[in-house]
């Protein structure tokens, strides 16, 4: 508050907009080069099998085939995480899930490549498999990898348990003893895919011992470092360029095709393009975890939570992972509790390896917590927002995962929700209203930014984070604000890995926060340099000038002696005052601010079919400072819509045979436009003290509240509560018939 901004808070059109709507933007599959081959991947039809023999000779002999690779074409990788990543990209000895890659070909056309796949002969010995988290934890369950069991997992669970975490404080048993009512419920949620519209795609091109890689990714430095390690290269030998990206949502924070395309290109000596089909995206890239959870909450008659306990069991597919930690940390983060414990178990199964999906691990844990809270409110006849306000975390609260919160916006969101006309609007028959709070940590991480002033005085900003949600616009705005120049005078581009230093991936809602700080620091360096140059021209002391609104002014006793010099004028003379002017920043800002949100949703449930219609939806979220409010709203709306899909229809459906049955958008049902009302948004601004403009990340929090908000609304509309997601019509109808 307090500070007046000229550019922040306005909504200029995004610089990448015209290219995208005119079809000129180049996405992952849009680059074609001379002599390019097409790659294709052979995938396992089994959930779990030993590869007894793998004969690629007939495929290699097919005219038009230029390279065939299997696990044998990769050297052993020392780094354990990268080795798992390689083994996920190309099965070694065993296939671990339906869709697991075990060979790949590069050929002169897609049809020849496909024909070659049909010539590869594989003999499998099928092995017992498990795809359900509770079954996979049972002693005696088929073990995906021996020797990976977590040391704290306990004796009563199988070796598939690769992680155990516990967070909290106080004495939960003492807390439950103080409660008037204690409620414990068990929940299940299905695996949900990120559902990005652009399938994974890349183009790899080896030139001698160096290579170029063009790829749809959220983090090209990450891709570079993983691929270089897997292929036995130096990082500097691999230059990775991030294409325009058609969505990622966390799903493009690892590699699937990239090492394969590079290995094919190296073997064939030609560029190789690989593009997944939608079926491959579903079968072989990472969805988020599915879960099984127990949540127990004790409450006094007037709504104060006395104790809370969560037990979270997540399955993350066929390799070790560690995402339940985020669930256990976030489960109770919204509340100020004396006695709280959240435990989590990470479990392997015969499914594709999980990868992040917006606020990874939080939505399901918070769904279970917020559903139990809502049921307690129903039982005790309390207002759900009142109860949340009564227990809400605030500045100074020791959070359930340890740290003490600085200024946070949860109470502001709850109060805004209470005061909003949506919360008091009348409801009709078969309609119900649900609310939920949500939370995400946000992240800082490493960043590099280079700001070059061109001779005409425009600003060329190079940063290293693929722009998914409009960050080039936001970063340009922050540069313009800091420099006091118009937005149009700044041009922000995403450099390739050879252009500037390392940047962490576009994830953790970090880009506007972190790249913003780096941009402000680079701009400050530019301003200082400009002041120095002008002082030299005017032949006065450097501290006798100051930067005001995009120009250097004389100050102090020199005030008014010289007409101010604009950035354009200074830039035009730069060749004669010491050469090009630039600023840069490399660092790891670490004061990301947590972000809370509250969602209200009205649903109508058809009592004869179990169909849920979303009637009205309002999302409230603390953005700290909304740099470009349209893109903040876009994040809030997008998160809400993905949550609606997860709550109502999205799920990975496995048969008894462990084979995925719905690897496509027909039967993996993300919402379509006509399923949705306008998602109304209310942006709350409680500045993050850790950012000069107050920015918090906003990209992830919004997917957290929808699961419980919708579940709570359905419980009230249908008169029965479901304890599993998705709440597809057959499940709702069955519950209504039995309830």
């Amino acid at each position: 508050m307090g500070r007046e901004f000229k550019i922040l808070g306005t909504t200029p059109p995004r610089p990448d907009g015209i290219e995208k709507i005119t079809g000129k933007a180049l996405f992952g599959a849009d680059l074609n080069v001379t002599g390019m081959l097409h790659g294709a991947v052979l995938r396992s039809p089994h959930a779990h099998a030993r590869i007894v023999s793998l004969d690629v000779s007939a495929a290699a002999a097919l005219p038009g085939v230029k390279a065939v690779i299997t696990a044998d074409d990769f050297a052993e990788v020392e780094n354990a995480a990268n080795r798992d990543t390689l083994h996920n990209c190309m099965a070694h000895g065993r296939v671990l899930y339906d869709g697991h890659a075990l060979a790949a070909v590069a050929a002169v056309s897609k049809s020849v490549a496909r024909a070659a796949l049909n010539l590869i002969r594989v003999e499998y010995e099928t092995l017992p498999h498990v795809t359900d988290v509770d079954a996979a934890m049972q002693p005696g369950a088929p073990v995906i990898h021996q020797g990976k069991k977590h040391k704290l997992a306990g004796d009563d669970v199988s070796d598939n348990v690769v992680g155990y975490y516990s967070f909290g404080h106080g004495d939960i048993e003492a807390g439950f003893a103080q409660a008037d009512t204690v409620l414990e419920r068990s929940f299940k949620t299905a695996a949900a895919h990120q559902g990005y519209i652009e399938p994974n795609a890349c183009l790899a091109d080896f030139k001698g011992d160096k290579a170029d890689l063009w790829v749809s990714t959220q983090g090209h430095y990450l891709v570079r470092d993983i691929c270089a390690d897997i292929l036995g290269m130096e990082s500097s030998q691999l230059r990775v360029t991030a294409a325009e990206i058609g969505g990622g949502f966390g799903g493009k924070t690892t590699v699937f095709l990239e090492p394969v395309a590079l290995a094919l290109s190296r073997k064939a000596g030609k560029p190789v393009k690989m593009v997944m089909s939608r079926e491959e995206v579903f079968r072989a890239t990472g969805p988020t975890m599915s879960s099984s959870m127990d949540v127990k909450i004790g409450m006094t008659a007037d709504g104060r939570i006395t104790a809370a306990h969560a037990r979270l069991r997540y399955q993350g597919g066929a390799f070790p992972y560690a995402m339940v930690m985020m669930g256990a940390m976030s489960a109770f983060a919204a509340y100020d509790l004396d006695h709280v414990q959240a435990e989590g178990w990470d479990v392997m199964t015969n499914r594709p390896k999980m990868i992040s999906y917006r606020a990874p691990g939080a939505p399901m844990a918070i769904y279970a917590v917020e559903a139990v809270l809502d049921e307690l409110c129903q039982k005790l006849d309390l207002d759900p927002l009142e109860v949340r306000l009564l227990n809400a975390a605030d500045e100074g609260t020791k959070s359930s995962y340890g740290p003490t919160f600085k200024a946070i916006g949860l109470k502001a969101c709850l109060k805004a929700a209470q005061a909003h006309p949506h919360y008091s609007a009348p409801l009709g028959p078969n309609q119900g209203r649900g609310v939920s709070a949500g939370f995400w940590f946000n992240f800082g991480g490493q960043v590099s930014v280079s700001m070059a002033i061109t001779p005409d005085g425009t600003v060329n900003l190079t940063e290293g984070n693929p722009d998914i949600g409009g960050s080039r616009a936001s970063v340009s705005m922050m540069a313009a604000e800091e420099l006091g120049i118009p937005f149009e005078q700044v041009n922000t581009v995403i450099g390739d890995t050879g252009a500037i230093g390392f940047s962490d991936t576009t994830d953790g809602s970090r880009v506007t926060f972190t790249v913003g700080i780096a941009t402000i620091k680079a701009a400050k360096a530019v301003k200082a340099e400009c002041c120095k140059r002008v002082a030299k021209i005017w032949e006065i002391d450097a501290d006798a000038v100051e930067w005001i609104d995009g120009a250097v002014h004389p100050t102090g006793h020199n005030a008014g002696d010289f007409p101010p010099m604009s950035l354009a004028e200074i830039a035009a003379m730069a060749g004669r005052t010491g050469g090009p002017i630039a600023g840069h920043f490399e660092g790891a800002p670490d004061k990301a601010g947590v972000s809370f949100g509250v969602h209200i949703v009205d649903t109508q449930v058809d009592p004869e079919t179990g169909f849920t219609k979303i009637l009205r939806y309002t999302a409230f979220q603390d953005a700290g400072k909304a740099i470009h409010p349209d893109y903040v709203e876009g994040q809030m709306q997008g998160g809400a819509v993905q949550g609606i899909g997860w709550a109502l229809n999205e799920e990975y459906i496995y048969g008894e045979d462990g084979v995925l049955q719905n690897a496509g958008f027909l039967d993996y049902r993300i919402p379509v436009a006509s399923d949705l009302p306008m998602i109304d948004t209310v942006i709350i601004e409680v500045p993050n003290p850790g950012h000069p403009f107050g920015v918090r990340g906003v990209g992830e929090t919004a997917i957290v509240p929808p699961l419980a908000a919708i579940s709570n609304a359905v419980a009230r509309a249908a008169g029965v509560r479901l304890y599993a997601l998705p709440m597809s019509p057959p499940r709702i109808l069955a519950a209504m018939d039995h309830g």
């Binding site: 089909s277 079926e279 004869e608 049955q661 049902r669 399923d675 019509p729 057959p730 109808l733």
Partner: protein, 287 residues
């Protein structure tokens, strides 16, 4: 694979008959191309019938309409006469896919693809639609109801081409309607569906009624008892409940990723009741 644009129906029939491998008629391609892209179908010969004269026409005939085999869903939706006479058939065809798909998809393709969930088929059967089929032995008329044979199968022979579908004339006091249940609001496949075609007597009671169910058996099925339950009624609740119960009894659904058998059995009756009400109102009566 060879792609051929047919110059005449008889030439198309000859080519299909002569092909030793897999030969397919291509209409809108919204099923065929998807199957080819996924690798499920690898045809040796495609014969495109869209360019043949009359194939894209809707022509009045004997008080009804003849719909050419290449007429798209969008074209049907834009035809005021057809919409007025057989609104249930037009709305069923209009449910297929999205705006883009509507520009290509045909009801004949929908029928010949053989999906038990094909949206236009129950409405066509309820309407008593007749297909004109041209084959190596000449031209014959077949009831649409006799064409589906099971998932992905029809009773048509390899070189048979459906040339058109005929929707007959109907009495003044008549109405039809089609409803499907999908978990979303569009771009989905029917989990259970029902078409109802009814005529009213001078007093406004149901004189005759046909109820046809989709996605609840290997083919679309006629639920005779469900129709009978409505006859003589003004769709009083008891008649509708009887109709719904008869639908549930007539169907033979499966459990699959799209829904349980129990769900389909229950919801198909709900669709029939609701479609009956719409058809009744279209026939000029209010409830």
């Amino acid at each position: 694979m060879r792609y051929h644009v047919a110059n005449s129906l008889s030439e198309a029939v000859e080519m299909l008959a002569a092909e030793a491998g897999t030969a397919k008629v291509l209409a809108g391609g919204t099923d065929l191309l998807v199957q080819m892209k996924s690798g499920a179908l690898v045809p040796d010969l495609l014969v495109d019938i869209k360019a043949l004269e009359g194939m894209r026409d809707i022509v009045p005939e004997g008080g009804g309409y003849r719909i050419g085999a290449a007429v798209s869903g969008a074209q049907m939706g834009e035809h005021a006469g057809l919409r007025a006479l057989w609104p249930g058939v037009v709305e069923a065809a209009g449910l297929i896919g999205s705006t883009q798909v509507q520009g290509r998809a045909t009801i004949v393709g929908n029928l010949c693809n053989g999906s038990p969930a094909a949206d236009s088929v129950p409405a066509l059967i309820a309407a008593g639609a007749i297909a004109r089929v041209v084959g190596p032995d000449g031209t014959r008329e077949m009831r649409v109801a006799d064409i589906p044979a099971g998932p992905g199968r029809t009773t048509l022979e390899k070189a048979d081409i459906v040339d058109s579908v005929f929707l007959p004339a109907r009495p003044a006091r008549a109405g039809d309607a089609y409803l499907r249940f999908i978990p979303r609001t569009e771009m989905d496949i029917a989990v259970a569906s029902a078409a109802v075609n009814l005529t009213l007597d001078a007093e406004g009671a149901v004189e005759s009624a046909l109820v046809v169910l989709g996605a609840v058996a290997p083919t679309a099925i006629m639920a005779y008892d469900a129709g009978t339950a409505l006859v003589g009624s003004r769709l009083e609740p008891s008649a509708l409940e009887q109709c719904a119960a008869a639908c549930s009894a007539a169907c033979n659904p499966i459990d699959d990723k799209r829904g349980t058998a129990a769900f389909r059995r229950q919801v198909v009756g709900v669709m029939a009741k609701r479609a009956a009400r719409i058809a009744f109102e279209r026939a000029g009566e209010s409830l």
